[in-house]
């Protein structure tokens, strides 16, 4: 790997990182985009449709991914891990490691012959583990770059992939390759992870097969999902009664997640609408304490869902257990009636919240902020010292933050903050480089 000299290093290739990179590159700045996963696209590319426009998510994400990959001013560095940064006086010096794909990315054409040849099937994180792919694979159908990657932890070294590859791209001798990037500014776009499905013992502690997280439901609803239709993962039954438990991972002091995750109301409403479309006979109940459809067009979206017959019930879900047929049974306090009832469903979705993205290989959840030397807020997201003056500036000059790295937000807010961070970074670069010239 050659060392790079750029104006901005964007860390994270989800929607926020991609948009920030594009905005800077469009202004003529040189950008390096470093993504830990083998493909860019982040969480957004795994979603089914987006609220409130109901655009097919892959249809609005993949062109951005493509634009990033083709932009002459963007150096796209996937499957790379940021190790550390140092201040240099004129900017930052970042140490990065290219992780071995065991595939020569220059030779790979993305034909997938290796994947078809590979005998080992492993759970695909793209489908939240409910779908499968092979130990060597192109991570998903719309991945950028379309290059295979071999998961050495699940490889039996049978060599079938190497034999089948028409391009001679499989390379078992690849080693991690360190390289360096000199940059004037950094944009942290490290994203989020869901609060864990197993966090709440009262809700089954992650052991109930038919209690799922919302990103699983996104995959069931996506045309490329693991089942190609909405089925419950316990036994493949098409659910006819479905419940959403709101604030299942937010506004909950016992979980240490005291904040509102902002997107859960809207994704529940959206999924309920999409399920009504896919399974017209299904009845859908959303248990909530406050419906927070606050964005532009969101309240109208919520009213539409009500009109479509989605049932909104104000209630605190105390516990979820399973009956003899794997059906989740919800115990809920109906706050408008003052009584506690039990109700059985085919499938329950816990509307989990957002926490900061975890580090790789089990490192602490704050690895990116730690390697960037950034203080965190009480919510563990990267702190913004002056939100009402410089909403994307971190505590460290030259480092900006965008998207869910600075707290829960939806796609549109991620895009706005990405452009905002790009604006702040570009002004910083111009002023900084001007200083450097006159110094």
């Amino acid at each position: 790997m050659d060392n790079l000299h750029v104006d901005t290093l964007v860390v994270g290739g989800g929607i926020a990182g991609m948009q920030a990179a594009l905005d800077l590159a469009d202004q003529g700045f040189q950008v390096a985009l470093v993504e830990r996963e083998p493909s860019i696209g982040g969480k957004m590319i795994t979603l089914s449709k987006v609220f409130p426009t109901l655009d097919c998510c892959s249809c609005i994400t993949t062109p951005k991914m493509s634009a990033v990959a083709h932009h002459p001013n963007i150096h796209l560095l996937t499957y790379c891990e940021l190790q550390s940064i140092e201040e240099t006086g004129s900017g930052f010096h970042a140490a990065i490691v290219q992780k071995p794909r065991y595939v020569d990315a220059r030779k790979c054409t993305g034909c997938r012959e290796c994947e078809y040849a590979c005998p080992v099937t492993v759970p695909s994180p793209f489908d939240r583990g409910l779908g499968a792919y092979r130990a060597i694979r192109v991570p998903f159908s719309t991945a950028v770059p379309q290059k295979a990657v071999l998961d050495m932890e699940n490889c039996i070294l049978c060599g079938k992939c190497e034999k089948e590859c028409p391009a001679g791209a499989v390379d078992f001798t690849q080693q991690p390759e360190p390289f360096e990037i000199e940059t004037t500014t950094i944009i942290a776009a490290s994203g989020f992870e869901l609060t864990p499905l197993n966090a709440k013992k009262e809700y089954g502690g992650g052991k109930l097969r038919n209690v799922v997280d919302p990103l699983m439901m996104e995959r069931f609803l996506a045309p490329t999902g693991p089942y190609g239709r909405v089925l419950r993962p316990g036994d493949g039954k098409e659910p006819t009664s479905i419940a959403y438990v709101q604030c299942a991972g937010s506004r909950d002091q016992t979980l240490g997640v005291e904040y509102c995750s902002r997107v859960c109301c809207m994704y529940a409403v959206k999924q309920a609408m999409l399920i009504s479309g896919a399974l017209p006979m299904a009845d859908i109940t959303i248990y909530y304490m406050d419906i927070r459809t606050f964005g532009k067009g969101y309240e109208q979206f919520y009213q539409n869902a009500k009109a479509m017959g989605v049932e909104f019930v104000r209630g605190k879900v105390a516990a979820i257990r399973e009956d003899g047929e794997q059906n989740p049974v919800i115990k809920v306090e109906l706050t408008e009636e003052g009584r506690i009832v039990e109700r059985t469903f085919d499938l329950v979705i816990l509307s989990l919240g957002m926490t900061p993205a975890p580090g790789s290989n089990g490192t602490t959840s704050t690895s990116l902020s730690a390697s960037l030397g950034l203080p965190l807020g009480t919510d563990k997201f990267i702190a913004i010292p002056a939100p009402n003056a410089n909403p994307c500036a971190s505590a460290r000059p030259g480092i900006f933050v965008t998207g869910t790295a600075m707290g829960p937000m939806d796609i549109v807010d991620s895009i706005v903050t990405a452009s905002s961070a790009a604006s702040a970074a570009s002004a910083y670069i111009r002023e900084h480089q001007k200083e450097a010239v006159y110094a």
Partner: protein, 101 residues
Amino acid sequence: MSDIKTEAPSRGEMLKRLRETHAVSVERTQVLFRAQKQMQQAICQFIRETPKTVPEIAAEIGKPSHEVLWFVASLKKYGIVVEAGMCGDYPLYQRAKEAQA
């Protein structure tokens, strides 16, 4: 990059090292692979002629239904199994005709 120049090891040498460093994971995966193969064969055998639901397959081969569903989904993804209608609330799955040929 490192300034220290060392003789690059040969490909054979590197593969040997890879086998050594990954001995544990290779062995673990081989066990897993054999189990997977058995499971896949059992499923495909049972639905070769007649389409079945996931609970039916699970009952036949004596495995939990969620595991069976995961395998069926993966076989479907790679074109070995296809959906063949519904039985009540459950989709039916069958061994793909093309894949058998």
